[in-house]
Amino acid sequence: MSSYEAHFKVWRGDVSGGGLEDFKIEVNDGEVVLDIIHRLQATQAPDLAVRWNCKAGKCGSCSAEINGRPRLMCMTRMSIFGREETITVTPLRAFPVVRDLVTDVSFNYTKAREVPSFVPPADLGPGEYRMMQEDVDRSQEFRKCIECFLCQDTCHVVRDHEENKTAFAGPRFLMRVAELDMHPLDAAAETGLDRKTTAQDEHGLGYCNITKCCTEVCPEGIKITDNALIPLKERAVDRKYDPLVWLGSKIRRRQS
């Protein structure tokens, strides 16, 4: 087992200001960035604020930016850095800072509430649901989401433009709209809610310019852009920009 001393820069401060603080800290074989942050807490900075929970990449709490890239600290192995390299850890830069590495992620909870929930079919009771595996596959992929909000953090629509936060739900919650729209038993349409249209009109799908950063940072490897956002855009096109599809659905509805 070999250990060495690494150079860390960790952002410390709160909403009234702050900056990168330098630390020299021991690193052992097999450790991840979160281990080092914990060692800083235990030995040099007991009040260093950081969120974490499962330490196994399953809860999505320890999101931060490491050398400028949004990542989970528990899933960032120290071995990917050179021993001479300075490792910079900052809080997520798209959200208001609370203290040190902790940010106020309430934006995401606000957006979660704005997406109308699953609408159970009126004619099916508990235990009567029948769904085929191939019909749930797509939504299941999106439900792998651990809500680390790295996609929300990296998305330039809100990261670089605070003013867009009211109009834009962000990749995670547009993906939630897609998940519900692809749910084989979601009965929203029967209640007059067209998720395809509201994706654009109310959740800001049009702001997405599919530059794929959400997919790049997703620790669960969900193909957010290709499997959720673009299909959702195409579904919005069905509703709003494609007279052929519109005509077809009209005719079919008349027939049935």
Binding site: G18, E65, R69, M132, N209, D226, V237
Partner: protein, 273 residues
């Protein structure tokens, strides 16, 4: 605290006052600029080349090969191509290069393509230049208003691209003739055309709109087993959309360049049989 940076005053994005006080627009230490720079360089090279060739209006036909930039040829001022794609819909009044008439469609298809959009938004627009690198623009409305809202018509260009791909397939069939229009021959050009048309089809069919139309729009795959299979198949291609976008771009330029070399006499098409 610490080094005593004050909170940002009244500047936007990552420098919004409530956010962590860090002045740098990004803290990435890798070569994040490489990908957008390479993308921009690659696209720029193609634009320069294709502009030259599209406006040149010469050296696009060397029997039996017609450059994909000039097929189908929709004006009277086209070179006659025996049983080739001469459809003079535009009659005689069109005086410019006939390439400009037809190139609108593949150009539109690629311009509104979900991959190319990413590529040029990042490469040319720097919106964003790379992930977690601040973009230089003050305002951003994405594809919510004119002109970028027109990106939504991608699927019409896809339909057009299907037609164009059919015509280029026809051109490839014609390439199985020799320069005297005898059937059953092949030259190096035929191979170039074959490779190109395969890549064009692969790129066209791997399109996100295509994936949506063949099956993605369905709610219940289980009720449409054939379309489900097609969706899965297109999905596999779609996973390589970026790769296909680039190789088909290069292959179409190479096919044109090959025709140019042969037509201008700089190179003699080696016949295989």
């Amino acid at each position: 605290m610490a080094t005593g940076t004050e909170p940002h005053l009244n500047s936007g994005g990552v420098r919004t006052p409530t956010r962590a006080a860090i002045d740098a627009p990004h803290l990435r230490t890798d070569r994040w600029w490489l990908a957008p720079a390479a993308t921009a360089a690659g696209l720029l090279a193609f634009v320069v080349y294709s502009t030259w060739r599209a406006f040149a209006n010469t050296d696009y036909y060397a029997a039996p090969y017609v450059s994909p930039f000039y097929s189908p040829c929709l004006a009277e001022n086209c070179e006659p191509m025996r049983s080739g794609p001469n459809w003079e819909i535009f009659g005689g009044w069109w005086g410019l290069s006939p390439a400009l008439l037809i190139l609108i469609f593949p150009l539109g298809f690629r311009l509104t393509c979900y991959y190319y959009r990413k590529a040029y938004y990042r490469g040319f627009w720097a919106s964003p230049p790379a992930c977690a690198v601040a973009e230089p623009h003050k305002k951003y409305t994405g594809e919510t208003r004119f002109p970028l809202i027109l990106q939504n018509i991608h699927r019409y260009f896809f339909y057009a691209a299907l037609l164009v791909a059919c015509i280029l397939t026809y051109d490839t069939v014609l390439a199985f003739r020799d320069e005297h229009y005898e059937w059953g021959h092949m030259g190096l050009g035929t191979l170039v055309f074959l490779v190109n048309i395969v890549l064009i089809w692969a790129y066209t069919l791997s399109c996100h709109s295509c994936r949506h139309i063949v099956g993605g729009q369905l709610k219940h795959f289980s009720k449409h087993p054939v379309r489900y299979r097609m969706w899965q198949w297109v999905g596999k291609l779609n996973a390589r959309h970026m790769l296909l976008a680039w190789v088909s771009l290069v292959s179409v330029a190479l096919a044109d360049f090959y025709v140019y070399l042969v037509a201008s006499g700089a190179f003699d098409d080696p016949r295989l049989f």
